[in-house]
Symmetry: C2
DNA sequence: ATGAAAGCGCTAACAT
DNA sequence: ATGTTAGCGCTTTCAT
């Protein structure tokens, strides 16, 4: 822009310049260049304007347009951590449906920090995005989300907040955990444990609940870890699993890790304890992250329909953008158990014990 | 915004509203709310303005501000695929240095599609971002990048383009490949092969070159795959490796895969051919992606200083933003060989062959 | 079919 | 220390 360059830069070419060169009024130039209104202008004039624009290297100033029109055509996507394997497919799903409708998606990270989360959201509102997709919420963020909703359309993706009342699309984490736990119980396991992720994230809370429901229904025993993961990482998984393996109430025959990283950590802990998977202890993960099929043993885990989730989120956003005043609903998409080799029937002697 | 809501929304509160409520002129309100100019206003008046702003839930309209000031405080980051493991740390590096300087980073994906690439860049320029970080370039994009540079500061990250002449920060891929290949040669391997990624991406081109340099220097033989990967995926790696293992010129004793996914694919191909790694064939990957330490055997690979790269990129961007007219330079950051278990000395009989 | 004029919300130069 | 005025680049009535 002018303030920074000595000479005029291409982006400094303005609609007025184009109009002058084409010998028309800016209003006409504006019409000629807008797909929506080009039919209002003589096709010959339009030609002239288009040529002029091309020759000058004109690029519309979306800032000015947005200011005038009151909308930016931007959707902000706020995610906790781009390292999460389900995010790329989800973001792609968003683009796939928002893009053709003329919206551009901009992704920002919070790194799971509440303050950054708020700052990023405020920032996006200040920039007048037309809507925000929040995939970084913690369960206690309900009031804050309500605040945001006073300013613009919001859709919660992946993570819900307590209380409901917001437009949200999540994975069905309770179901996912039930799938895992029922599979384990069906295999004959009775002494089960879970490696829990941070409970202020609805995904982990849901998995914990699904697990416990099934444990209760099948009269299994939950071997409880005294601790829970600070962050759901490989190291934390290893630490928690190690504690579990030496529990004074006896060790579990199967472990449900709330995500694949912790499952891999548990695998490591097993190895260091001289135990084998799945012969001595079965392990199941969650997310079906890349490469989980290639660890040893290949990890049984849960696959999430993340691309579909992104598309649903986008559809819900469009609903709000288009003024369909649908009441807030939360839809939960069904995950799928991927059976590989890290879980098997418990050894005879242990099952009997 | 007004056009979409029936009632007035919080974001529709304007500076004028604040000024009226505080009983001052908008200009005064503007000053009072700007950290840079608050000292120009009586502290008592400032109080009144701040209170009024707080009560009304005023949020500055960055669109209007940017239009007036001629800069947006936004930096666009254009990446090929968020699934790439080196991107999150790099993006974080960007934020870490750009954030404190008042810039916000917005990430967009191209999915490796040239048309999307151009569209996204144009879009960002239309939105008047202050600069673009391009991490999705193909080697032939030099002219296009030059075009962009006419409009705004550009820094190339990770991938360079042919011809040079742009501000760029990359990983030293030639060095990385040399590290791998020298390690392999040092182990005693003489019959080497590489699994090449798409050659229109500088990273892969560099790795191919480093590999071939060392092969020539150590009088090794490159067993050439007739094919190359369309996309550097596990499946492609498996396909290429399978072909290599049945090559009529005899199979290699070591394979350098241009990334970890292809290396894992090669591991699979080995397994299906009844061969063991590293006893029969050594395999080395690239990127040190998550979980590569946990596959069997743990993958020897190359670790990239991606966070540092992001920070350097940001610094280079700030240099341009701050008008230091440094000439375009390209800096290449050194990667590091991570020795695990997928590469070992070749078996005696094969080494002799 | 085109032009004139107003204004989106803000900041900067210039008064006072 | 505060108010006045102009204008960033565009779109949108309203005239013609």
């Amino acid at each position: 822009m002018a303030h920074r360059a000595e000479g005029r830069r291409m982006s400094d070419v303005t609609l007025k310049d184009v109009a002058v060169r084409a010998g028309v009024h800016v209003a006409t130039a504006s019409r000629a260049l807008d797909p929506q209104r080009r039919h209002l202008v003589n096709s010959e004039t339009r030609q002239r304007v288009e040529t002029a624009a091309g020759e000058l290297g004109y690029r519309i100033n979306v800032l000015a347009r947005s200011l005038r029109k009151g909308s930016t055509g931007m959707i902000g996507a706020v995610v906790a951590d781009l390292g999460n394997p389900f995010l790329p497919p989800m973001l792609r799903g968003l683009e796939e449906v928002l893009g053709p409708r003329g919206y551009m998606t901009a992704v920002s990270e919070t790194h799971e920090d509440p303050e950054t989360f708020r700052r990023v959201c405020e920032q996006l509102i200040a920039r007048r995005v037309d809507g925000i997709v929040v995939s970084a919420a913690h369960v206690g963020d309900s009031d804050f989300i309500s605040t945001l909703e006073k300013s613009l359309p919001v859709v919660l993706a992946v993570r819900r907040v307590s209380g409901g009342g917001h437009h949200t699309v999540t994975h069905d984490d309770v179901l996912g955990a039930r799938l895992v736990t029922e599979y384990l119980a069906g295999l004959g396991h009775r002494r089960l444990a879970q490696l829990r992720g941070p409970e202020d994230v609805s995904s982990f809370a849901g998995r914990a609940r699904g697990f416990q429901e099934v444990v209760a229904e099948h009269d299994c025993t939950e071997i409880v870890a005294h601790d829970r993961a600070g962050a759901p990482t490989t190291d934390e998984g290893k630490r928690l699993a190690a504690a579990l393996l030496t529990a004074d109430v006896g060790r579990p025959t199967a472990i449900f890790a709330h995500n694949d990283l912790m499952a891999i950590g548990a695998l490591e802990a097993l190895g260091e304890a001289g135990l084998r998977c799945p012969e001595d202890v079965s392990i199941v993960g969650y997310n079906d992250a890349p490469l989980t099929a290639h660890v040893t043993p290949p990890l049984t885990t849960v696959r999430l329909p993340s691309n579909a989730l992104g598309r649903r989120v986008a559809a819900m956003m469009l609903g709000q953008l288009d003024q369909h005043k649908e009441p807030p609903t939360t839809v939960a998409l069904e995950p799928e158990l991927v059976i590989r080799a890290s879980a098997a029937a418990p050894a005879r002697d242990r099952a009997a014990g």
